[in-house]
Amino acid sequence: MWQRRAFLKAAGAGFAASLVPRRAEALERAELVFASSIQKQAGGYAAALVSEAGTLIASVDLPERGHDLTFSPVTGQAVAFARQPGTFAVVFDPAGAMAPQTITSLEGRHFFGHGAFSPDGRLLYATENDFENARGVIGIYDVAGGFRRIGEFDTFGTGPHEMLLMPDGETFVIANGGIETHPDYGRAELNLETMDPSVAFIDRRTGDLIGQLRLADGLHKLSIRHMAFDAQSRVWFGCQFRGDPGDRPQLVGYATREGEIRLIELPEGTLGDLRNYVGSVAASADGAIIGVSSPEGNTILALDAATGGVIEALSMRNGCGIAGDAAGLLASSGDGELGGLAGSGVARLSVPVLFDNHLRRVG
């Protein structure tokens, strides 16, 4: 966590000086800083830093709509990935000490909007689409080499979406959403009849497949897309259902590196509020609470990771981003709202930006 003082120190005098007094004052009060891709009110896209008090601290323009961000555990450098089928990722220093740098995807590849750094901060990984072959890959970038792309691994599936590095620092977990897209047809989904979603565990150093988990046979239209770890290193995931909209399959579950995968049973009404669509999954700082969101259903759920029970349901129009804060979860919305739940002390407030699907705690 970046405490206020730590943030000001990291930000450096130049950055603090660039803040208008009102914002600097807001920063005085702020404890936590969050990052998200946004759409600006005046139009245009950016990656933004926002305090939990709702103060817009800084923003870095993006050429088009962004998606998730990831941070170097060593330097704190941030990377905002383009939303699929975008071809850029923008590296920036949240402290504002260096100029942003744009990474362009390799020809024949585009980004899916998610990625992760290696524990030593030397490599950046991103989920990408080898679209001519409908094959998911993890692009590997050398940070010291100016984010030069030095190779790729297979994700062992089509349409990978979120990827995370497990707490062991050695294993990637990939949500292979299973949906084929090709930039010739924009975001059109080309294989709904034959989609084959999976959770894949991959050796970070060799790219070898450690294990791959699929849901039961009747659930092949349940696209596994977003994930977070609980305190036991179980991988909680949220799905989006592409089958008959009249069906309401369970959407939330967890998988383990040991090979277990299961969906939890959400109560019918709660499940209905998710509208067959989970937009993000996040965990509280202690890993005891799992947040899942549905912007379609205007609902943020806080689940007890130990029991799968619903701790709290927050109604938030267009709410999608979730991140752990000091005590619970903070949620953000496409309408510009922030709101805490499950023990968070953050009151409901409005920020003059439109938050994209993912919210990340900085530091």
């Binding site: 939303r83 010739d184 047809y185 909209p245 999608c320 439109l354 938050f355 994209d356 699907n357």
Partner: protein, 356 residues
Amino acid sequence: MRVWLALLIGLLATPAFAQLHPTARTVITQAVEEVIRPGFAGFAAETERLAARQAELCAGPSADALAVVRGQFGAVVQAWSGIEVYRFGPLMTDNRTERILFWPDRKGIALRQVQAILATEDETATDPATLYGKSVAVQGLGALEFVLFGTGAEALGTEQGAFRCRYGSAIAALLSSTAAEMSSEWADPAGISARLIRPSQSDPDYRDNAEVLQELVGVMAHGLEMIRDQRILPFLGRGGAEPKPRSALFWRSNQTMPSILANFTALRALLVNSDIWEYAPTEQFWIGEQAMAEFDSVAIYGSGVTGTVEEAMADPAQVDQVANIVISSQVIDKLVGEDLPAALGLSVGFSSLDGD
């Protein structure tokens, strides 16, 4: 006297307001009753005619009878282009969207499977009941287009085309029965119409008017994206790439541009005939007015595209007209996908309508 005065004040307080601003219920009712329901009824009627003409062709093959069926295929595509944007309710059950039109088909799956049926004279493809159990790619408009217009289609005018004709008949019959089912579902006063017109807290999808209006605005926003990404750009080419006329939908039947223009016409009809744009505050009427003007521009650009897609893409002037349609679609997208929902107090749909 006091009563009269109160009435007079009441009248003065709402000058023409009620007429200018429809209620949400009125907007939704008009969308259902004046736009969507007639659209689905039209598709049912055109596919029923198609099935009848196709059966006549098989009973008495001739070049004239083939021409009649081909003409009717165009009418069916027009009707379909008017309703395919309603991707909720009846179109979304039982894979109907894919059964009626398997597209995009980047790998040409449909062509391979249809050609295999024709080559092996697979009799199970000539009975609608067994055809229904086959791949969705061989039972819809794309398959029928190849039967009627693809390589070897001329045989349909003679006895040599008997198998091909019966396969075409089975497709037309399936289309007709699916279209009839959807039309009756939309016509059912207790069905999807009631759910939209009278949303309730117990409904899984439509808890209130705002969620229904969101659905209707979503139809326009998603429809525009579909036209651009799946229908125009694949053959126009992205970012200055060479046009690929054979990547166009319905190029064999020369229905590419007519179907695209019918898509736009359908979206304009939803905007205008539902009065949804007038549900916005008066000072926001410009949104609907500009969108209508832009839709009119699309029609003008479209009239400048003549002949087949192949011919059009070989003519720089016509390529420009198609490119102009893409730009107009982006303008309309901004108007109805961002400005209108904001004016209606709906979620701008930044996260939810086109999430990831």
